[in-house]
């Protein structure tokens, strides 16, 4: 191309409608932004804000009930709206590529990797053999160590991170002018996410392609993007260089979003998280004033009558707020006070002693949990962290009695042995241990009303009369801040946050002593997550319940946990108080997990490479030795280190002495 382009993507005054039950409702209104050549532009906002809609429109991939009803989209200087099918196809081959959230469904399960990646090159005019060799090259470029081996595989034989690399390799086949990434790492583990994000950054540097990066994750956007646009209810409310926008946000929505994230140094006893009150307006609702007015702490009369223009905050930044100068002083939506309760670790509630779980798969043993020793004190939160496949959820199921541990495992509650199966536990113990599941959509029976879900649980667990049940139900719903008008409603008519409150209420219906929380906020938006974390912290302080809290989000763990246990391949690698684990020194695996969380600066982190080994065939010696960045030698491959108490309450399973670990980890 001889002409110099001024933009890779130019969206101007874009309007997109969806047809819902026969009516066209406006989902995106007057959105304007530009992605310059070589630039990485981020779109953030909570679910339902229209991020993915814009991404789809930029490929002209809107679903059949969607239409672009105004404005223009220029990709590499060419107007997408006036293109015919053939021209669009050529554009999608050459100029613009997209990577979706779920690589598993983006790849064709029936085609081997060489055929799929090769196809991308064949479309560009390469012969079959040439395409194959270029595919291998492309895989090498996305840092797949052994392309020849990977190319013979089918997608399901690859891990999620590997699949996403393959998708990225295909997307970059044509060296597109624009690469659209729609939540590319959302389904991946933090360690893998960190690797994939590094890769994207490096490829961007190498190829000079422009990126439109869509994510709900503010930390990821901050790390990956030069400029950011914040979407709210289909409107672009703020736009600017990412560093400036995140350190000095000038729209109350951006300010609110950032405040919802747990901050370093703030824990549940010391402060509550701020939230954004209210709900996103339904699609198609066009308020007369500012879209955010109903939820804004700075709202004035003028906000309800006049929609603000995009005010220039500086030469590079705009904000759609009448009071953008005041945005940083947005008043808190909830009081800042924390629970003020610090649990006493000496009163032991649960004792997990030598617990193992071996599954049998086609006659082969799979060691999901291996000899775990842990205890949980009354009223404290023990967090379980580790990548997927580390045995966190299995351990939780053993405690709940949903599956039975191996012989010789002992789990005690208040000194009494817990029967291996829920079916034979005495009522008292059934009541005492309950759970809040990750996804309230599948955890609540969608054909039952809220009243039935909670009422039935109370009747079964507490054996109370209907009158007593109704009284308790009203109190319980009030304690999770759900109005009684929702009693006759079925779950699908509730928002995600309300559903999770109901799930929490159900877990608390029988006055439990221990509640397992299995990723309770990972399916929720940040503003809803903040409210749920506040609720969990307050319920714990009020009722003295202990939590076994499973999470991959270390920010959340830091906020809520009193103690942290790190699992890898079913083994406990480190356990200690939250201060000890977050302060270090750490087991190298914990160190890797900590540095994978996106807040850490680039130069100070260590990266895990490769994949978590199969639990059916764990490596000999220390199970982490195959991926350990701090491996010291042969001893790691031959002898499994013991879990040794390195300082009071802080145990690490590593051959490296504590002082050496401290030195290694403070040197960067």
């Amino acid at each position: 191309m001889t002409t110099v382009l001024t933009s890779a993507l130019d969206v101007s005054d874009l309007r997109i409608d969806y047809r819902v039950a026969g009516d066209w409702l406006t989902a995106i209104r007057g959105v304007t932004f530009t992605v310059k050549p070589g630039e990485s532009f981020g779109l953030v906002g909570e679910s339902g804000c229209g991020k993915s809609t814009i991404a789809m429109a930029a490929m002209r991939y809107l679903p059949r009930n969607g239409r672009i009803s105004g404005g223009s989209i220029l990709v590499a200087g060419r107007d997408l709206r006036s293109m015919g099918e053939d021209e669009l196809r050529r554009l999608r081959i050459k100029e613009v590529s997209m990577v979706y959230q779920n690589p598993g469904s983006a790849l064709n399960p029936a085609l081997r990797i060489d055929e799929q990646v090769g196809e991308a090159f064949q479309l560009l005019g390469a012969s079959k053999t040439e395409a194959r060799s270029r595919a291998a090259e492309a895989l090498r470029r996305v840092q797949i160590a052994d392309p020849a081996r990977v190319m013979r595989r089918y997608p399901h034989q690859l891990s999620g991170g590997m699949q996403q690399r393959v998708v990225i390799a295909m997307a970059l086949a044509s060296l597109p002018a624009l690469l659209i990434l729609d939540e590319p790492t959302t389904g991946l583990d933090a360690t893998v996410e960190a690797e994939v994000l590094d890769l994207i950054n490096q490829l961007r540097f190498e190829t000079g392609t422009s990126v439109l990066f869509i994510s709900h994750n503010l930390a990821v956007i901050r790390k990956m993007c030069d400029r950011v646009g914040v979407l709210y209810a289909g409107r672009l409310v703020e736009e600017g260089p990412s560093e400036e926008l995140f350190t000095d946000p000038r729209h109350p929505y951006t300010v609110g979003l950032l405040r919802c994230l747990p901050q370093r140094g703030v824990t549940k006893d010391r402060g509550a998280l701020d939230t954004i009150p209210g709900f996103l307006p339904p699609i198609g609702a066009i308020p007369s004033g500012c879209v955010f007015a109903d939820r804004c702490g700075l709202v004035q009369e003028v906000c309800r009558t006049d929609e603000p223009i995009l005010y220039e905050v500086s030469s590079t930044r705009v904000s759609r707020c009448h009071f953008h100068q005041d945005a940083p002083s947005l008043p808190r939506a909830v009081p800042a006070a924390g629970t003020g309760v610090k649990p006493d670790h000496s009163i032991k509630l649960v004792d997990i002693d030598g617990v193992s779980k071996t599954f049998h798969q086609d006659g082969h043993p799979v060691y999901a949990v291996v000899d775990v020793n842990l205890d949980i004190a009354e009223g404290e939160t023990l967090a379980l962290v580790g990548e997927s496949g580390s045995g966190k959820s299995t351990l939780a199921r053993l405690v709940l009695g949903l599956s039975a541990p191996d012989k010789g495992s002992v789990i005690e509650l208040e000194g009494e042995k817990l029967a291996p199966s829920i079916d034979v536990r005495p009522e008292e113990q059934v009541r005492a241990v309950q759970i809040v599941f990750q996804n309230p959509d599948s955890a609540l029976n969608r054909r039952h009303t809220i009243k039935r879900i909670i009422g039935r649980t109370m009747t079964k667990l507490l054996r109370v009369s209907p009158a007593e049940r109704d009284k308790r139900m009203a109190e319980l719903l009030a304690s999770v801040r759900v109005g009684s008008q929702y009693l006759t409603v079925r779950p699908r008519n509730l928002s995600g946050g309300l559903k999770q409150r109901i799930a929490i209420a159900r877990a608390f219906a029988g006055d439990p002593k221990l509640v397992v929380c299995d990723e309770p906020t990972s399916a929720l938006d940040v503003s809803v997550q903040a409210a749920i974390l506040n609720l969990l912290a307050r319920l714990q302080a009020d009722k003295g319940v202990a939590y076994l809290f499973i999470s991959h989000d270390l920010g959340v763990v830091r906020y809520l946990a009193d103690r942290v246990a790190v699992l890898y391949l079913g083994r406990l690698m480190e356990v200690g108080s939250a201060e000890q684990v977050f302060g270090g020194p750490n087991h190298p695996y914990t160190e890797a997990l900590l540095s994978a969380s996106a807040e850490v600066e680039e130069d100070t982190r260590i990266r895990l490479h490769g994949e978590i080994p199969s639990a059916a065939n764990p490596p000999p010696g220390c199970v982490f030795n195959t991926r350990c960045p701090r491996k010291i030698g042969e001893i790691c491959e031959t002898r499994e280190p013991p879990l040794a108490e390195m300082e009071p309450g802080h145990s690490i399973r590593c051959h490296i002495p504590l002082e050496e670990l401290r030195q290694m980890q403070s040197s960067h």
Binding site: Y18, A21, A27, S47, G48, G50, S52, T53, P63, G234, F279, L280, P281, P282, I283, L400, G401, L402, I422, D423, E427, V430, Q434, I435, F437, Q438, N439, S442, A443, L444, N445, R446, R447, H448, T449, R456, T457, K460, L461, Q485, Y486, T488, V489, R490, R492, N493, L494, S495, G496, G497, L498, R506, G510, D525
Partner: protein, 291 residues
């Protein structure tokens, strides 16, 4: 991800069912099917008033037998001189009792069996599923014929046999749906308050698999009509004097060679229109309830 708004809109609890029903009534194929089936339902209920002649009344004189369609007899008369139109109208009754009753029986038994095998899995599932497989490998009509020969033909017999033959097919569909449902966490939540297996199957899981069950019912109903007609064609249906479409075809198809087509064509068209009507309904129900 679509742009669904997570606002807590309170809608009446049965909003989704209402929406599905509304969608159904907007679908042209559903309305066409409903019209076709509706005609035959009206005939089945009010047949004796609608029929221009007595469907059972045979003519005494030989001249009024096998008359071609005319103004007096729109569909002609059959070999006994009975009005084919009247017998076609009256014939709707037997088939519209037998087919739905048999399908209902098959659906109830199949759903129960599907729930049990899908929920318990293990040995129960293995044994029952293999029996089902064996059962399904024999052609349906053959199974029916063998059973009816053993039982002796009767209306109840036909209903039971068709119902039993459908049971494994429906059980298989329901089992697949249950296998997906039982892994959902609301089932674990029910176990955690110590609900028994029967409660979990019939109170927790069953309402969530009603979509596939309903779809299966409508699809099977089409087959049931066809099977009922086939069985009476083969002489294993209702008593020989009752007006019945399959029976009428059986009694008259030998006359086709003689150019007497009307006493076969009209009952055949009746069967075809009812099956097409039911299948149109089944397709639209499947489209709405299986997303």
């Amino acid at each position: 991800m679509t742009a669904a708004a997570p606002a807590p809109v309170i809608v009446s609890p049965d909003e989704t069912r209402k929406k599905q029903v509304r969608l159904l009534f907007r679908s042209p194929s559903f309305l066409t099917g409903l019209f076709l089936v509706g005609i035959w339902v009206v005939c089945a209920i009010f047949g004796s008033w609608l029929a221009p002649y007595d469907p059972a009344g045979s003519a005494s004189d030989i001249l009024s037998k096998n008359l071609p369609p005319s103004a007096a007899h729109w569909f002609g008369t059959d070999q006994l001189g009975r009005d084919v139109l009247s017998r076609t109208i009256a014939g709707a009754r037997s088939i519209l009792i037998i087919a739905p009753a048999a399908t209902l029986l098959g659906t109830v038994l199949g759903t129960a069996l599907g729930l049990i095998t899908g929920y318990f899995r293990g040995l129960v599932d293995d044994v029952v599923s293999r029996i089902i497989d064996a059962f399904l490998s024999i052609p349906l009509v053959i199974t029916g014929l063998i059973a009816l020969t053993a039982l002796g033909p009767s209306t109840i017999g036909v209903i039971v046999v068709i119902g039993m033959v459908f049971t494994p097919v429906i059980a298989r569909t329901v089992r697949a749906a249950v296998l997906a449902e039982r892994e959902l966490e609301y089932v674990a939540a029910a176990r955690l308050r110590r609900e028994g297996g029967w409660h979990i199957m019939f109170v927790e899981i069953l309402p969530n698999v009603m979509g596939p069950v309903l779809v299966e019912f409508t699809v099977r109903l089409g087959y049931a009509i066809f099977t009922t007609a086939t069985l009476s064609f083969l002489g294993f249906g209702v008593e020989p004097s009752t007006p019945d479409w399959g029976l009428a075809i059986f009694q008259h198809y030998a006359l086709l060679n003689a150019g007497i087509w009307w006493s076969v064509l009209f009952p055949a068209l009746a069967i075809a229109s009812l099956v097409v009507g039911v299948n149109l309904i089944a397709d639209s129900v499947a489209a709405v309830f299986e997303q």
